[in-house]
């Protein structure tokens, strides 16, 4: 036997150890893989298939054709995008200064503020939505107070319309924007701002040239989460919109519950899924996942 053929010390044993480790890791991911397959891959595939089935049960594009031709559908998509974009913008306008403020506090005070952000986040969506209804309605707290203070003479309409929907949705979406943004801002090295200032930058200049660009990955991640969640949002627009604000998810629901039209509902779902996919794709080009992780 030559030296090359001789077994190296413990070679086989160590190979076995490595193989066992791989098996363990696979075993740990198995429950998740099974769940994803059963609850996501199969149902989504089934919906996809249903969306190409016409009323007579044959393969056809009629569900999609109807969507393209119907003004109602186009209006629903426009509303969905309008509400989603507005909610996202308002969330950013409110959330960015708040996250910035929190990131400048000491850990202790920032954590206390964070609880303030998270308590609504932990409260039931339905409870919060009805609470807004109580606050905003014609004889609600807000209108009554404004009338008593003499700010207005007639109750103003701030619910069962776009305004009410936006107020509710912004409130519910805000934590989704703040959480990634705050984490990102926390990770920004404060010395970089000191450096900018020692090199001659005014506080405003230092903010726009150093802090803001470094917070962009967190901001984009937050915007993305909020926007995508808005696209498929159902409960809040249904309650606070009072039937006047119809978003895609509500149409899907009514297609099924009122018209038993699984094909039409599926087609809407597929379109929404594709649009979301495209947005995620574009966003991932803007901010590489790398950059999000590289903090």
């Amino acid at each position: 036997m030559t030296i090359a053929e001789m077994e190296k010390p413990n070679e086989r044993g160590l190979q076995k150890v490595a193989a066992n480790e791989r098996l363990t890791f696979f075993g740990l991911t198995l429950p998740y893989l099974l769940m994803v397959t059963a609850l996501i891959v199969i149902p989504v595939g089934w919906l996809f298939y249903l969306s190409f089935i016409g009323r007579d049960g044959s393969l056809s594009f009629e569900n999609y054709e109807r969507m393209m031709k119907s003004k109602a559908y186009i209006r629903i998509f426009l509303t969905t995008f309008k509400i989603s974009i507005l909610t996202t913008i308002i969330c950013a306008a409110i959330g960015y200064p708040l996250a910035y403020f929190m990131s400048q506090l000491s850990r202790k005070w920032a954590n206390i503020c964070m609880i303030g952000v998270l308590i609504p986040f932990w409260t039931s969506l339905l409870v919060r939505t009805y609470a807004w209804l109580v606050l905003l309605q014609k004889k609600g707290l807000l209108n009554n107070m404004a009338i008593e203070m003499g700010l207005i003479s007639e109750p103003i309409k701030i619910v069962h319309n776009t305004t009410g929907t936006l107020i509710g949705m912004v409130h519910i979406m805000l934590p989704f924007l703040i959480l990634p943004l705050y984490a990102n801002m926390r990770a920004i090295d404060k010395d970089t701002l000191k450096a900018a200032s020692s090199l001659g930058a005014t506080p405003t200049r230092a903010f726009w040239t150093v802090f803001f660009p470094l917070s962009l990955p967190g901001l984009l991640a937050g915007l993305l989460i909020v926007f995508v969640l808005c696209l498929g949002f159902y409960v809040t627009p249904a309650i606070l919109g009072g039937g006047r604000v119809i978003m895609a998810a509500m149409k899907i629901s009514s297609n099924i519950e009122l018209y038993f039209s699984w094909g039409a509902a599926s087609a809407l779902g597929v379109v929404l899924l594709v649009v979301t996919g495209i947005i995620l794709f574009i966003a991932s080009k803007l901010v590489s996942m790398d950059q999000l992780g590289n903090r």
Binding site: S197, L199, G200, A201
Partner: protein
């Protein structure tokens, strides 16, 4: 005062946090063009003092003048200083070139002039041709150089550095010490350098300010501080030393009842500490005049490359003190080294014998 640098005048700067003084009545003059090191253990207040100079920390009271101008009320961005931070604080979203060009852009310098000055600064720190790199593509040493280039590109008259070499490995750190010193000699700006590394301070500085517990302990040239420490804290902190308790009465010093002849410090009576630098102590075969001698037992002998470190426990009535002796690595002395457990006699020249309180 020349045109490339300014002197710094610090008067009575005091900063208190609750009951704790970060800085206590610190006054010192830093000459124009000088390389001044603020040296002290962590928490001593040296970084606080640097932050006061930069304008990031406001003292409770005190004055800081750059040249003739009082700057203590000025915000950092109007002080015109170059600063190098401990963790470099480079802008990760900018290239090397953009980082170095940042202060020029803020100053409204033309694109062509910015390009020229950035190239000059990069070549000063030996980073030519790396301008287009991203910060994440650089090694620690290269980042250090970018931070330096960014701090000197606008030719500030004062350069502040906060432990800039602490993140580098030993070999690179020692190279950079020499390089930074040479750079200072070329650019000639007043440099205030903070470190806790006494060897670094000795290597680089024109003068050293030793700070402890927020107070200025000693200010002097490196050799003054090393050869004539003011007190036992400095004797212990700067360089290696064994401190032996001696009693001085009527101009005569004694260690455990045996007389010790001092070069200086015998004027005052009281209890003092004899400073024994390991490299100044030597192994003695026979006693000759002009040296003090101590007898003890060798308890440890450590090979350290360039030298052999001997730990000797002095024989005395009470618990013997330990003295360290460094024997240079020469083939002759290596052969003649005593063995652990043997009795040895250590000599210390009278000229090297001094006490601190």
């Amino acid at each position: 005062m020349n045109e490339t640098s300014l002197n710094i005048s610090i008067r009575e700067v005091t900063k208190k946090y609750d009951q704790f003084y970060a800085l206590k009545d610190v006054s010192l003059e830093i000459n124009s063009g000088e390389f001044m090191t603020l040296l002290g253990p962590s928490g001593s207040g040296k970084t606080t003092l640097l932050m006061v100079l930069a304008g990031f920390t406001n003292p409770d009271y005190g004055s800081v003048k750059f040249g003739d101008e009082e700057v203590i009320l000025k915000p950092p961005h109007l002080r015109g200083i170059g600063m190098v931070f401990q963790n470099y604080a480079l802008f990760p979203h900018m290239t090397v070139e953009q980082n170095v060009g940042y202060p020029q852009k803020l100053r409204g310098v033309s694109t062509a002039e910015t390009k020229r000055s950035v190239e000059e600064a990069l070549s000063t720190v030996k980073l030519e041709g790396l301008g287009h790199r991203g910060i994440n593509e650089l090694s620690g040493g290269q980042r250090q150089r970018v931070a330096l280039a960014r701090a000197i590109v606008f030719k500030p008259k004062i350069l502040l550095m906060d432990e800039p070499l602490s993140a580098l490995d030993k070999k690179l750190r020692e190279e950079m010490q020499i390089e930074l010193r040479q750079l200072h000699d070329t650019l000639n700006m007043t440099t205030v350098y903070v470190t806790h590394d006494q060897k670094e301070a000795l290597t680089m500085s024109d003068r050293i300010t030793v700070i402890n517990d927020g107070e200025l302990m000693q200010l002097g040239r490196p050799n003054e501080i090393y050869e004539h420490p003011n007190n036992h804290f400095i004797a212990d902190f700067i360089g290696e030393s064994s401190l032996l308790p001696v009693t001085v009465r009527n101009g005569k010093a004694s260690l455990n009842g045996e007389e010790v002849t001092l070069a200086e410090g015998a004027e005052r009576s009281g209890d003092f500490l004899l400073v024994v630098r390991p490299e100044k102590a030597f192994l003695a075969d026979k006693k000759v005049k002009g040296s003090n001698y101590f007898v003890g037992k060798l308890i440890d002998s450590i090979f350290q490359g360039e030298s052999q470190l001997l730990v000797v426990k002095l024989s005395s009535r009470d618990d013997g003190h330990e003295v360290r002796v460094r024997v240079p690595n020469e083939s002759v002395t290596q052969k003649a080294l005593p063995l652990v457990g043997e009795n040895v006699t250590i000599g210390l020249k009278v000229a090297d014998s001094y006490v601190v309180s």
